[in-house]
């Protein structure tokens, strides 16, 4: 009886049932009204019609009548719906019934024939559909007209049908295949076949995989491919679970599977999540079966009871374990479960879900037919090598190569992220805020290497995770004020894992907590927390994956696929990786500098530096010895020179500093540089150094002090090839100027210019640079007045980005006269001309990627720093960097070891970009 009701066969029953129900409803309504009146009377609230005014009475009757009318209408609708369902079910079941009848009245051999006949029918339909679709492929530009022509010929070839039929034969014994037999005709089937064929020609990797593998008779291969990413052996775990007699140990195995499942939920790969959830469902079902079997009450259960129990358990487990990485999909599945659970007889929800299931099976099968037809076309068209043909047609080799590289990126990236030690200054934002920033950068990077990472991550998950990390830190005794908090990538991952696995109740609770009151999180902060675009990356020191991505890019551009085809193939269809590529080019290779250490020329292979920056004749030392790196004072101190030699140099340095001090030149730090690279007599070296010091003092008195700004000389670096060049070199390379604090920012430009103008006019380089310098001044002024002063300087950072971000041609170019910058570049092996070019590029990228903070931007745009007066001036470099005096001071004062500063960021990026440009691999 139940079956006939569900299938719509029991319409009389349903009609009678609904009519009876309607009558019962009317009776109940009368009874309810009566009961209510009695209750109201007892409470002294007599609202019976008799006690009310006529108007109230009329209203009361009208309400009651309306309710009854509505009930009758609902019942009538249900009766009509039941009739409609019956008709639909009949129509849908007609073909199925025919086949079912054939199946019931036939031998297994005849049944096979029936199936085969239907399969052939489907194959014919698919083959008839294909020519039109192939023509459409040409119209859409997916194939050439020549390929279209060949494919059309192939479809008409005498053996096309047998090829397709053979393909289907390979599938015939599969579990779902037989279902096609009852459905392989009709308009819906035709539409589905069309889509199946289209899917085979869509050019996507899975489609090609299916078509290609099927073409080679490798149905098993396809199944293997589906499971390719399997991270652990499901069956092995289940086997262990079954063999383990101890319930607690069984629970421990279950716990491991639960962890694996939660990990996969976070990582967001659908196939892996399915495998993990399958394992968990199976394990839970097994465990419940085990516990159930120990209960003596159920010893005498029948097979039916046992199976019903297991179906119930499995179903329940499926409901509690999310199966999809997509929130929307999980919601639909929940709706399905809920509607099936609460289904009422008249709603037919169950019938609709049945329809959906059958239609899914049909469609899936037709999709495979499409792949079969695709195989036939490809294999005939391109000389019997379907895989090669598909590759030739759709460039799948590039795609495959790209996929390989992406997998490599993901693997290496995940490893690097897990092992990285993240650090964040606490400062005013507090521990929670610091962990917030850390998690923010971590999630961004996870999503760079895996776009599906934590796909359903919400604000509440993040709040939980940062709070969890904060509690851990406080437990460890981390101070709440100034300082640095640290966490490994693995710890951040664990925190996010916990955060994303909180239940709905906890989500609501956190949502309420942060919605108002003292834990309120503002809209701006919410927006920041949920913004996981690369552009919102916070702390460059926590950048782990840029180098890995750069390597991948290198492999793609110079690897087997050549000429960047793979890059284009990959990134043209994927906006995410397209963005990621921008990061490679822009932010990228911070790791490059981290790898070799800051200012660590000596740590990097010598040959690379020589290749980048050949030493000019001018810069060669007095003797014929080769140019070598410029060791800093600290490096000298840490070098392996003999103590005696070291002590001698130290004394010399002290003498020089004393001399400078006596002359009124305040010294912050000094380097004797190449002086010490002159091999041989230490006394000779000392003599040169002292003479250079005299020249420095003379230069200071002549050019700097006269300027009336009393600057401090902070650093000197004697690296000249000879005394005759000292003066020039001291100014361009060796003299750092610190503007006294009393000097206003507005005066900076003019004062700075004065210094160098004076120097230029008096130095030995005058003859070489005077003409060029004049040109520079003009061009500098032009740039300042037209581009910067009028258009850029008045803008706030937000306005600037809004105006120029889309315009990649904007040139806010740069020239630097910061000796510290120059030294950084020099030690990075970047020549002056390269430095300018790269800096220009760098600033563009920094702005486009929003890497410069608001404060830094405000500094960057206000001042010009000119470096057009050095002896190696290149008139082809017209760039100017604008920076304010305050920033200049800050930059110079900044500790070189602090990577987070603007100076460090710029120099590391320049170094990295330069390296990328000059690396032979790229």
């Amino acid at each position: 009886m139940a079956k006939s009701r569900e299938s719509g066969g029991g319409d009389n029953y349903e009609n009678n049932d609904h009519q009876n129900k309607s009558k019962r409803a009317v009776d109940n309504q009368h009874k309810q009204n009566r009961d209510n009146s009695i209750e109201n009377y007892v409470r002294g609230e007599d609202t019976t019609p008799e006690s009310l005014s006529h108007r109230q009475k009329a209203e009361a009757y009208r309400t009651e009548t309306d309710a009854l009318k509505a009930q009758i209408e609902r019942d009538e609708y249900e009766i009509k719906a039941a009739e409609s369902r019956k008709k639909t079910q009949e129509a849908l079941g007609k073909e199925e019934a025919v086949v079912a009848a054939e199946a019931q009245n036939t031998t297994p051999e005849n049944l096979d024939k029936t199936v085969e006949g239907k399969v052939l029918e489907a194959a014919n339909e698919a083959l008839a559909t294909a020519p039109e679709l192939v023509a459409k492929l040409e119209a859409e530009g997916k194939i050439t007209s020549e390929q279209n022509k060949k494919m059309q010929e192939a479809l008409k070839a005498p053996d096309a049908r047998s090829k397709v039929k053979n393909f289907f034969h390979r599938l015939k014994d599969s579990a779902t295949w037989s279902s096609v037999a009852g459905f392989a005709t009709g308009a819906a089937a035709k539409g589905a076949i069309r889509l199946g064929v289209i899917s085979a020609f869509s050019g996507s990797l899975p489609a090609i995989l299916v078509a290609g593998a099927a073409a080679g008779g490798l149905v098993e291969g396809v199944r293997a491919a589906v499971r390719e990413r399997k991270k652990y052996d499901n069956s092995e775990n289940i086997k262990r679970l079954n063999e383990e007699p101890n319930a607690f140990k069984k629970a421990a195995i279950l716990n491991k599977l639960q962890e694996a499942y939660e990990n996969q939920k976070l990582l967001g790969n659908q196939e892996d999540l399915k495998i993990a959830s399958d394992a968990l469902i199976t394990a839970k079902t097994q465990l419940e079966a085990f516990l159930h079997s120990k209960d003596t009450k159920f010893e005498k259960e029948s097979d039916k009871d046992k199976l019903m129990f297991l179906l119930k358990v499995s179903d329940s487990n499926r409901k509690s374990i999310e199966r999809s990485t997509k929130r929307e999909a999980n919601q639909i599945l929940k709706d399905m479960d809920r509607s099936l659970l609460t289904e009422k007889k008249w709603s037919n929800v169950k019938g609709r879900w049945k329809t959906i299931g059958i239609a899914a099976l049909k469609g899936a099968t037709f999709g495979t037919i499409g792949a079969g037809v695709g195989y036939a076309v490809a294999s005939l068209d391109f000389g019997g090598n379907p895989t090669g043909a598909l590759k030739n047609t759709f460039g799948s080799s590039s795609t495959e190569r790209s996929q390989e590289l992406i997998q490599s990126l993901q693997k290496e990236g995940e490893k690097a992220l897990m092992n990285h030690n993240f650090a964040e200054q606490i400062g005013a934002k507090g521990i929670t805020g610091a962990y917030r920033d850390m998690l923010h950068d971590y999630v961004i990077q996870q999503r760079v290497i895996n776009p599906n990472f934590a796909p359903n991550l919400n604000l509440e998950n993040l709040v939980y995770a940062e709070d969890y990390l904060k509690d851990l830190a406080l437990e460890k005794g981390t101070p709440t004020g100034e300082g640095v908090i640290r966490a490994s990538g693995a710890e951040l991952y664990a925190a996010l894992n916990k955060g994303t696995n909180i239940d709905e109740k906890a989500v609501k609770s956190i949502g309420k907590l942060v919605g108002a009151g003292k834990h309120h999180i503002s809209d701006a902060v919410r927006s920041y927390m949920m913004d996981h675009n690369v552009a919102s990356f916070h702390n460059v020191d926590n950048d782990v994956i840029s180098q890995i991505m750069a390597d991948i890019k290198t492999k793609m551009t110079v690897g087997a696929v050549g000429n960047g085809q793979a890059v284009n193939q990959l990134f043209s269809n994927d906006s995410f990786y397209s963005d990621a590529m921008k990061v490679i080019i822009t932010n990228a290779i911070v790791e490059e500098s981290l790898m070799y250490g800051r200012n660590s020329r000596n740590n990097k292979p010598e040959s690379e530096f020589k290749q980048i920056e050949p030493v000019s004749e001018q810069e060669k030392p007095v003797t014929n010895t080769e140019a070598k790196s410029i060791p800093t004072t600290s490096k000298i101190e840490s070098s392996k020179v003999e103590n005696k030699e070291f002590e001698f140099r130290k004394q010399t340095k002290a003498e020089i500093d004393q001399k400078l001090k006596k002359a009124g030149v305040k010294v912050n730090d000094g380097q004797l540089g190449l002086v010490w690279d002159v091999k041989g007599d230490l006394n000779k070296q000392k003599e040169i150094a002292l003479r250079l010091t005299d020249n420095l003092i003379q230069s200071y008195k002549k050019h700097v002090k006269d300027a009336g700004i009393a600057p401090l000389i902070l650093e000197y670096n004697f690296n000249s090839a000879g005394l005759s060049e000292v003066e020039d070199k001291m100014v361009s390379d060796g003299l750092s100027l610190r503007i006294p604090s009393g000097l206003g920012q507005s005066d900076y430009d003019s004062q700075f210019k004065k210094i160098f103008k004076k120097h230029r006019n008096s130095s030995k380089a005058k003859s070489k640079s005077e003409a060029k310098g004049t040109e520079v001044e003009k061009s500098t002024e032009a740039v300042v007045s037209n581009e910067v002063k009028n258009e850029i300087l008045p803008l706030t950072k937000t306005e600037f980005l809004a105006k120029y971000k889309k315009d990649s041609k904007i040139k806010l170019t740069s020239v630097i006269e910061s000796p510290n910058f120059k030294r950084d570049f020099g030690e990075a092996g970047i020549s002056t001309s390269e430095m300018y070019g790269n800096l220009d590029e760098l600033l563009q990228q920094m702005k486009q990627q929003d890497f410069v903070s608001e404060e830094e931007w405000a500094s960057l745009k206000k001042i010009k720093i000119i470096n057009k007066y050095s002896s190696d001036y290149d008139e082809n470099i017209p760039d100017v960097l604008y920076i304010d005096g305050e920033s200049m001071r800050n930059l110079d004062l900044q500790d070189d070891t602090q990577r987070g500063g603007l100076k460090g960021r710029i120099s590391r990026r320049i170094k990295a970009i330069h390296n990328l440009k000059n690396n032979p691999k790229t």
Partner: protein, 105 residues
């Protein structure tokens, strides 16, 4: 019905022998419903965002006939879905079989 034939084989392999014809029919219906859910679930978890929207629209608004056609089309456009469905059915069948063996011990 061919699917029913398949279910019969499954019942045998699950070791469900000691049942009356009426009970067998009831179990068959339950198994069909159960696997139907698994097929539907496999479809849903393989849909992309756009397809999920369509699915929701179809399942909420379509007539029975339209629903069948639309869902078929949706499923046909997912490469390899048939294999994934087979895999899901097989996995669940193995799950039930091994759990049944635990109960039978």
């Amino acid at each position: 019905m061919i699917i029913q034939d398949r279910i019969n084989k499954m019942l045998n392999e699950l070791g469900v022998n000691d049942v009356s014809a009426e009970e067998k029919l009831e179990l068959t219906q339950h198994l069909i419903d159960h696997f139907n859910k698994i097929i539907t679930e496999t479809l849903i978890i393989n849909l992309d965002d756009d397809q999920l929207k369509k699915f929701k629209e179809y399942s909420d608004k379509d007539s029975e006939a339209d629903l069948d056609a639309h869902i078929s089309e949706l499923a046909a456009s997912i490469p390899g879905l048939q294999f994934k469905i087979e895999d899901a059915i097989q996995t669940e069948f193995e799950n039930l079989r091994s759990a049944k063996q635990v109960l039978d011990k």
